[in-house]
Amino acid sequence: MSFKEYKTHVEMGDTVILYLNIKNIHAITVTEEVKNKKGNMVPNIFQTVYGALKVKDLVGMKYGSQVQMTRGWAFALHPTPELWTLTLPHRTQILYTPDISIVLTQLELRPGSVVCEAGTGSGSLSHAILRTIAPTGHLHTFDFHEQRSRLAAEEFSAHGVGDYVTARHRDVCGEGFDLDSVADAVFLDLPRPYDAVPFAKQALKKSGGRICSFSPCIEQVQKTCDSLRKHGFTELQTLECLQREFQVRKSVMSVFDLSQPPTDGSADGDERPSKKAAMEERPREVLTGIPLTTMPGHTGFLTFATLPPVMTSAT
């Protein structure tokens, strides 16, 4: 229930982000028991690289404090949509925070916004949208994969944000959103976003709104832009955003000191630095940020556009 608002202590049913180190972060649901492979209820024990954790022991702990493990410490963090994106169970490809951040701003989402999203996928973006539009807005999210849609809906209510979202099992390219003039923004992450554009237009308010389509391939972008133009969207913008991370290092580099004249006196007037002078290396500390040797080089193209208000009649 812990996604709805910040709280100070862990309660039963919460999702806790267990941070061991930067490579080991897990989202766990605090329950006394879990179903094992045979379908029997057994005590909820979570295995980590630092040893086992009796999950129910987290109850009553202060968020942000340390958890004693058999072979070290972990931190019990309060969930945020960003931490959820890092730890959620992947049922599909998901959107990550660098792209999500831009989507939220460019769709002008804020408390009270009504948003349509397709497909729901693993709900990575959905959680960020919900955090931003609650408590007065609403998210309508669609997926034509029955199980994904159901699992996402279960997650939303388990996370305490179920009231702000309607998750439906529906093919939006074939059947549309079943919504008329209610949305401030539409987000599409579909293989054929261009087929959903006319339905998106229908779902947007008469006063206009914003749309975003995320596509990994340029061919999809091409068709989507054509379709957006055809349906009266304006202010088209396609962009790509990559996050570059720097590894922060304090490293030592030796510096040659070539300013001293040779001290061995053997070659007066000889301008060439002597062997000895060249050996005068002094260590110097440098503070630097090194880009990662490999980094995500492409996630997808984000296309944004505006639907202007409907003109009902000329005056």
């Binding site: 608002e5 910040y6 100070t8 941070y19 930067i22 202060k62 968020y63 942000g64 404090s65 340390q66 004693q68 931190f75 963090l77 309060h78 960003e82 951040s101 831009i102 939220l104 701003t105 002008e108 804020r110 408390p111 009270g112 931003t132 408590p135 007065t136 308010k205 008469k206 006063s207 206009g208 972008v221 832009c225 054509d226 133009r229 304006t234 202010e235 913008q237 396609t238 962009l239 790509e240 955003c241 990559l242 996050q243 570059r244 991370e245 720097f246 922060v248 304090k250 503070l287 630097t288 940020g289 193209f301 296309t303 202007p308 208000p309 409907v310 003109m311 009902t312 009649s313 000329a314």
Partner: protein
């Protein structure tokens, strides 16, 4: 005219978009709106739904006022440009001594006959003998310049953070410390800004874009404590902050309904407000200066270059209240006055009370000063398990902050930048845009945690 949504009204601030040009303007019936060399008749804009697109018709009269006509479709600027970009066919090229065969008179004539901007630009390009000899880069630049001049469509938009931040960045990135809109977006998620939360924002030198952005995300629910240097906030800040108004009925934390209107005490008709002092924006700083009391482990004032003056706003409600103070003799209903009257002094006290509980939900720094000591000092006001984030136009200060925060026991420390590339997408002519921004600033983010178990274990 429209079934829902607000209409463009007299005396409010809007963003006017004309092709790739953007401008913040306060629309007044009696006045005209200057867009580059063209002046637009404001009366023709008012009353239409916000977001409406207009075609500008060159009008008569002494002032040559452009008459706006609402239209359903506009020409796509990119399309118009790129169509010309690929105009490799030069059969219409006129043999002429001059590089431009089109005369001013001929262009005016075309205009009077109602030719579209696209037609005019195409004709100009077709008649430019030097055009074919230009590199693709300068061809694009040439067309863009002409296009901007002859593009005759505008739209009038609500001044949202998206538009205001992009406008400032377009006008001069250095005015907002190179804070590109994608970086601003990352700051908001790195701090996980959510309605109902309590945020501590230290901003200077960004025309209050980050403050406005956090307020927009709070939407009237929650709290924002804004720290700034010296006695008064940056003069332009009040503007950005009012400009980017949520302009919606929002429920204030106390349950009252607060209507935030985008009214500015200062006519922002000339676009970007100067970041210096002056103008008629006044703030009372008497009694408002409060140096945060750090408790027992108080850090000497020398640690902070900023004599932090605290100011607190509660979403839109306080935004309104500050606006009232700033606007002085602005025409406002007395009802509003009584509802929102709160002095700077009271604001400061509220802010200090809030800070003293040391459980803010997020800490956001975006300042001209070196952030390391400020960050170390302000971290104490953040609750555990909450994120903090620092924006800096340079990478190096953030590297120092990284080590400082590591020493404080913070986790998930990351120094990042985002790389942003725009694309032109057109049939057979899709490619990355020829110009791109080289960088939009750097961000440090992390989480504060409680390591008392560690400490206990060490002392055992």
């Amino acid at each position: 005219m429209r079934e829902d949504g607000p209409a463009i009204c007299d005396g409010k601030n809007y963003i006017i978009i004309k092709g790739s040009f953007m401008k913040l303007a306060k629309l007044k019936t009696q006045k005209q709106c200057q867009l580059g060399r063209a002046s637009v008749d404001v009366a023709g804009l008012l009353g239409h739904p916000v977001g409406t697109q207009f075609r500008l018709h060159s009008g008569g009269g002494k002032q040559r006022l452009m008459r706006p006509e609402p239209v359903e479709h506009t020409e796509d600027l990119a399309d118009a440009i790129a169509a010309d970009e690929s105009a490799a066919d030069n059969r219409n090229l006129l043999a002429n001594q001059t590089s431009q065969a089109m005369t001013k008179e001929r262009i005016m004539e075309m205009r009077e006959q109602g030719a579209t901007g696209k037609e005019i630009v195409t004709t100009i390009v077709d008649n430019s003998t030097s055009f074919q000899g230009k590199t693709e880069f300068s061809q694009a630049k040439y067309v863009r310049k002409k296009q901007k001049k002859y593009f005759e469509f505008i739209s009038v938009q609500e001044p949202t953070v998206r538009l205001v931040a992009s406008m400032y960045y377009m006008q001069d990135p250095l005015k907002i410390m190179n804070l590109r809109v994608d970086s601003l977006s990352q700051l908001l998620t790195a701090c996980s800004v959510r309605p109902g939360g309590r945020y501590l924002v230290l901003e200077s030198g960004c025309l209050a874009v980050t403050v406005a952005a956090v307020l927009e995300r709070l939407g009237g629910h929650g709290h924002l404590v804004h720290l700034f240097q010296g006695g008064t906030p940056q003069s332009a800040e009040a503007q950005a902050d009012e400009t980017v108004a949520t302009d919606r009925e929002t429920v204030a934390p106390n349950g009252e309904t607060a209507q935030t209107a985008a009214e500015s005490p200062k006519a922002a008709a000339d676009g970007i407000p100067s970041s210096g002092g002056g103008g008629d924006v006044t703030t009372t700083d008497g009694g408002g200066d409060v140096v945060p009391d750090g408790g027992d482990d108080v850090t000497p004032a020398t640690e902070e270059p900023t004599a932090a003056t605290a100011e607190e706003t509660e979403g839109t409600e306080a935004q309104e209240s500050r606006k009232r103070r700033l606007s002085g003799s602005q025409t406002e209903t007395s009802e509003r006055k009584s509802k929102y009257a709160r002095t700077r002094c009271e604001d400061s006290e509220l802010a200090l009370n809030m800070l003293s509980s040391k459980d803010m939900d997020g800490l956001l720094l975006c300042c001209r000063q070196h952030p390391v000591n400020l960050l170390r000092y302000l971290l104490r006001f953040l609750a555990v398990s909450r994120p903090f984030t620092v924006f800096c136009p340079y990478k190096e200060p953030l590297l120092e902050c990284y080590f400082a925060m590591k020493a404080e026991g913070c986790i998930m420390l990351k120094v990042t930048e985002t790389w942003l590339r725009n694309y032109q997408v057109l049939p057979e002519r899709t490619h990355p845009e020829i110009n791109m921004s080289g960088g939009g600033g750097y961000i440090l983010s992390g989480f504060k945690v409680d390591r008392s178990l560690n400490r206990a274990a060490v002392t055992d």
